[in-house]
Structures are given as structure tokens and as C-alpha cells.
């Protein structure tokens, strides 16, 4: 039996959040005595797939059919189900993302498996199987018992501590997995994909610099972009900012946008409405820059600066540059 982890690829390498899922799966396998298998789909760099071994995987099943190069949750779920059957997997793990949820859901329905999405920590396994999960958009947690024979867990970022000691120097064996693809999964035609190739993805970034209506207009973003560049950070924004088209929609963070969990979140000119906080409350450290000392965001922050962001941001950028 294997704990099976589905990993997402980015340019042929396993995404950071997926490597965390591998480490998470390996921790479970330690308890259950299972092996750890990883499933990777589409075009991949084999030496990058081997790195799953550093996080505890014994082998990587690689389905390299070029029909799988393009994101397709229907086909991916099919292949994941086939891999789960081959490996006789009772525990299947994915990392939380739009794709992760879609693949997990369809695979769970095929396998008649109980599914919990938004898992925030390791399960408690003794006779029963209980996992912690985030609910109410980070405002609360629930411990959920999964009773079904096959279990599908969709794991949030930071569900386990990742430190240097959890990384080994062992490579995983990469095996070709021959999957059976169904025509019915390929009825859609992808007309266009717009991806800002150079941009850091918000869900993967360890630092995010985010701007709100206090930025006053799209033409004022440069100081924020400068700080982000100096920090190697991704950029985000509040909902009104993307509604006003000051920034692209995929940067919108919060209850109705992307939920992020970076090590450091720097909010510039964002008031801290509860719907915005819902998207950032998984962050390890929050810095708030706002000219209003009464802004609610300060209550959720670790560090705060009351001041005009147009004066503060260049100073921060300068200080970051001086670090290096």
C-alpha cells in the first residue's frame, strides 16, 4: 500500500506547495507503515521529479502522455484514480489550489472516498482518522473524522513545518506510468491561456507586498513594485483595487479572491476589512502601513507603521537594498 500524493508541475518541476504535500504524505506513511508514491502528469524534467525523494517519496509515477501537458482536471482525476488502484492507496493527498480541489473532487467521487479540503495539520491516527481543517475562511478550525475506507486530503500551505532537517538527500525512482485516457475528458478546446510568465505566483510566494485604495491610482504603483522587487516578493491588492482595474484580477486577495499564506505580508494602504483579512490570516507575519492609526488592519498585524505610504515605501526599499 502507498500513500499517494498528486503533485502539480510548473515548467517541468514540482511546485513548492506540492513538495510540502509530499513531506506531509511521508509523515503519515511513517505512522501507517505505508510506502510513499507520487504522481506527476505531463511534461517534466526527470531530475526534478527525483527530488520528491528529498521529501520522503520512494517513487514517482510519471504519466508523460503529451495530452496531459495542458491542465485538464478531468483527465488528471482519471489518471490519479488509476494510480490509486495500482498502488492500492487508501490515503491520497493533494495541495490546496483550484486545480488540486478539482482533481481531488473528481477522484473522490470515482473512488467513493471521503474528502476534506483545507487541511491545516497532520492527522491523528489511532483507530480513527481525524484531521484539522480551516473553516469560515480562516476564522475557525474544525477537527473532522474521516470514516470512509479511502480518504482524500487537500492540504493547505504550512500544514506542516518544513525545515532543512526534513529534507533528505535521497532521490526517488521515477517510473513511467501508462495511463488510459478517455476521449470524454478532452471535449473542451482551450482557446487561449494568458499567463504572466515572469511573475511570481501569489500562492507560492514567501513574501507578498499588497496595495489597497490608499495607493490612490494605478499610476502610483511604482514604489510598491520597487519594494517587491527588492524583497523578491509577489504583488497583491485589495478587491476595490482590482474592481477599479488598477491591478489585474488575479492579484485580488481576500474572501472573494485568492487566499494566501506567505511568511511575510506587507499591506500598504489597505484598511483591513474582515473580507480582506480572511484571505491573509494564514500569513506568518503581517506588516501594515497606513496613515490612519485606527485602521482595523493594525489589530491583525505583527508590525505597524502609521504614516504616508508614499514616504514610507521608498525608505523600506532603500533599507532592504542596504541589507544586501
Amino acid at each position: 500500500m502507498s500513500v499517494l500524493i498528486y503533485v502539480e508541475l510548473d515548467n517541468g518541476s514540482i511546485k513548492k506547495t506540492s513538495l510540502e504535500a509530499v513531506a506531509y504524505g511521508a509523515k503519515i506513511a511513517e505512522k501507517t507503515g505505508d510506502k510513499v508514491a507520487v504522481l506527476a502528469l505531463g511534461k517534466a524534467d526527470i531530475s526534478e521529479l527525483e527530488k520528491a525523494g528529498n521529501y520522503g517519496a520512494g517513487k514517482v509515477l510519471h504519466a508523460a502522455d503529451d495530452k496531459l501537458d495542458q491542465e485538464n482536471s478531468l483527465a488528471y482525476a482519471d489518471v490519479l484514480t488509476q494510480a490509486a488502484h495500482q498502488e492500492n492507496s487508501k490515503i491520497i493527498i493533494l495541495s490546496k489550489s483550484g486545480l488540486g480541489d478539482a482533481v481531488a473532487a473528481r477522484a473522490a467521487a470515482k473512488l467513493k472516498a471521503g474528502i476534506v479540503s483545507g487541511v491545516t495539520g497532520l492527522p491523528e491516527i489511532n483507530g480513527s482518522f481525524k484531521v484539522p481543517r480551516g473553516i469560515f475562511t480562516g476564522k475557525a478550525f474544525a477537527t473532522t473524522e474521516i470514516k470512509s475506507d479511502i480518504k482524500v486530503l487537500v492540504v493547505k500551505k504550512n500544514a506542516i513545518e518544513m525545515d532543512e532537517s526534513s529534507v533528505r538527500t535521497v532521490n526517488a525512482d521515477v517510473e513511467t506510468f501508462s495511463s488510459v485516457l478517455r476521449d470524454s475528458d478532452f471535449k473542451a478546446t482551450i482557446v487561449e491561456v494568458e499567463k504572466a510568465a515572469s511573475e511570481l505566483s501569489l500562492t507560492e510566494a514567501s513574501i507578498i507586498v499588497s496595495g489597497g485604495r490608499g495607493m490612490k491610482g494605478p499610476e502610483n504603483w511604482q514604489p510598491l513594485l520597487d519594494l517587491a522587487k527588492a524583497l523578491g516578493a509577489a504583488t497583491g491588492c485589495s478587491k476595490p483595487v482590482s474592481d477599479l482595474d488598477w491591478r489585474p484580477h488575479h492579484e485580488h486577495i481576500g474572501q472573494t479572491g485568492i487566499k494566501v499564506a506567505p511568511d511575510l505580508y506587507i499591506a500598504c494602504g489597505i484598511s483591513g476589512a474582515i473580507q480582506h483579512l480572511a484571505g491573509v490570516n494564514g500569513s506568518k507575519c503581517i506588516v501594515v502601513i497606513n496613515k490612519d492609526p485606527e485602521a482595523p488592519f493594525f489589530k491583525a498585524a505583527d508590525y505597524g507603521i502609521v504614516g504616508d505610504l508614499f514616504e514610507v515605501l521608498p525608505k523600506l526599499t532603500e533599507a532592504v537594498k542596504n541589507l544586501k
Partner: protein, 245 residues
């Protein structure tokens, strides 16, 4: 075109969450309930598509009678009729199975719902329903147009977007800016009172997961304030104290 829109009944986004019964139940006392904001987007786009194509729109909720005001609101916004599956939904799988059961009987061309509910935030019901019905599912959909039997979908993907064309029937998880939220008008509210709301009993299912105990996050420590004229101190603290940089 036959459209089904599935809605959740959830605490308002500003609601303060607390628990009772030794942390095993949500404290519903004094909490205003709303149609899930994502479901509201799905409903709004559903109503627009129905008006364009001259089809029908049914709204479906899996839940108890306390959701009826939200179901009536959906009828006031423009749904033709409503179905409530009278059950306390246990989890995503259970909810999806109930939706799939209703859908099997009625053969909808389009099943819309929010990308996720804002209570459990799972974001898996559309995928489960799609698979249970053996049809395609996509999420999160930000733009949706229907031309004959084909949907053109603009969807958010990691760091960008994807536009695809897919044949109906489809199950779609929706999010903004697919449509603007609609506010019911007086006429809508009046006619909603007489539109049919059918209550059906759930199909019985094996329990897959059960929530055991709830908890609240540990309270944040106090925020350390740094004077604006010493902003560079922040960077030093992030390095030496928070150990992030």
C-alpha cells in the same frame, strides 16, 4: 436552456464566529445568514443567461428550513422555482450526492454554483457533482457565455487565466466578475411569494466524514509600532526579530 443554480445558506462575511455545546456546534445566535457570495454571482449570471435564452432557472438548496428566506430571495432575483432537499448536509460528498440525485431526474444543461461555500471553503462540490453525473466541471469561472450548445468559459488558473470552449451540459463553480450581484426589486419580491418551493427528502447515504470539534485561532499578539521616520528599523526587525529576511 434548463439551468440549475445551487446556493448555500451561510453566515454573513462580517459575522463573528463562536461555538456552543462544548465546541461541537456553531453558535447561530444573532448571526445574519446570506446566500453564499459566490453562489450569488452564479445566480446573477444564471438569471442573465435565462433572460437571454428564454429558458428556465431552478434554484436548489440542500439544507434545513431556516434557509427559506434566502431561497425566497433567489426567487425574487429571478429564479422560476426552487427545490430544497430537507437535510442537514454532513459534508461535501453528501451535499454533492443530493445535488446529483436531483440533477439526474431533471437533466439540466447548466449547473451553476459558487466556487466555494464561505463556511467550509472546500471548493469541491462542483467537481464531485460533475463526476457523479459523468459530465465536465470547471472552476473558478469568471466569464461565461452560451452559444447554442457550447459554453465559452474564462477561468482563473495559477497566475493567469484560461479561455476554453466546452459542450453542454456542464457544472461550473463561479466567482466574480462573472456578473454583478442583483438586488431584488419590489415586483420580484412580490412574485417570489407565489413561486413554487418544493421540499424533498434526501437520499440516504453512508457518512463519510463528521466534524468533531471546533476551535478558534489563537489571538494575535500586540502589533509592534514603528515610527514612520524610522521605517528602516522595520527591515532590521524583520531580519533579527521575526527572522524572515
Amino acid at each position: 436552456m434548463k439551468i440549475l443554480v445551487c446556493i448555500t445558506n451561510v453566515p454573513d462575511t462580517t459575522a463573528k464566529i463562536s461555538f456552543t455545546d462544548n465546541d461541537t456546534k456553531l453558535n447561530k445566535n444573532g448571526i445574519p445568514y446570506i446566500i453564499g457570495p459566490y453562489d450569488d454571482y452564479a445566480l446573477s449570471r444564471g438569471v442573465e443567461l435565462k433572460e437571454q435564452s428564454g429558458g428556465t432557472l431552478t434554484v436548489l438548496h440542500v439544507g434545513e428550513a431556516d434557509a427559506d428566506p434566502q431561497i425566497r430571495k433567489a426567487l425574487a432575483i429571478g429564479a422560476d422555482d426552487a427545490i430544497r432537499v430537507n437535510a442537514d448536509p454532513l459534508d461535501s460528498y453528501y451535499t454533492a450526492a443530493q445535488i446529483a440525485h436531483i440533477a439526474e431526474q431533471n437533466k439540466y444543461d447548466l449547473i451553476l454554483m459558487g466556487r466555494e461555500s464561505i463556511d467550509y471553503n472546500s471548493g469541491v462540490v462542483h467537481g464531485l457533482v460533475g463526476e457523479m453525473l459523468g459530465i465536465a466541471s470547471y472552476s473558478p469561472v469568471m466569464k461565461l457565455d452560451i452559444d447554442g450548445g457550447t459554453a465559452t468559459i474564462s477561468r482563473e488558473i495559477d497566475g493567469g487565466k484560461e479561455i476554453l470552449k466546452a459542450p453542454l451540459p456542464l457544472v461550473l463553480g463561479c466567482q466574480e466578475p462573472i456578473a454583478e450581484w442583483k438586488i431584488p426589486n419590489m415586483r420580484g419580491i412580490m412574485t417570489a411569494r407565489t413561486k413554487p418551493l418544493t421540499v424533498v427528502e434526501p437520499v440516504s447515504l453512508e457518512e463519510m466524514t463528521t466534524p468533531e470539534k471546533y476551535s478558534l485561532p489563537a489571538p494575535k499578539g500586540t502589533c509592534k509600532m514603528i515610527p514612520a521616520n524610522e521605517a528602516e528599523t522595520l527591515i532590521r526587525l524583520l531580519q533579527t526579530e521575526a527572522k524572515i529576511l
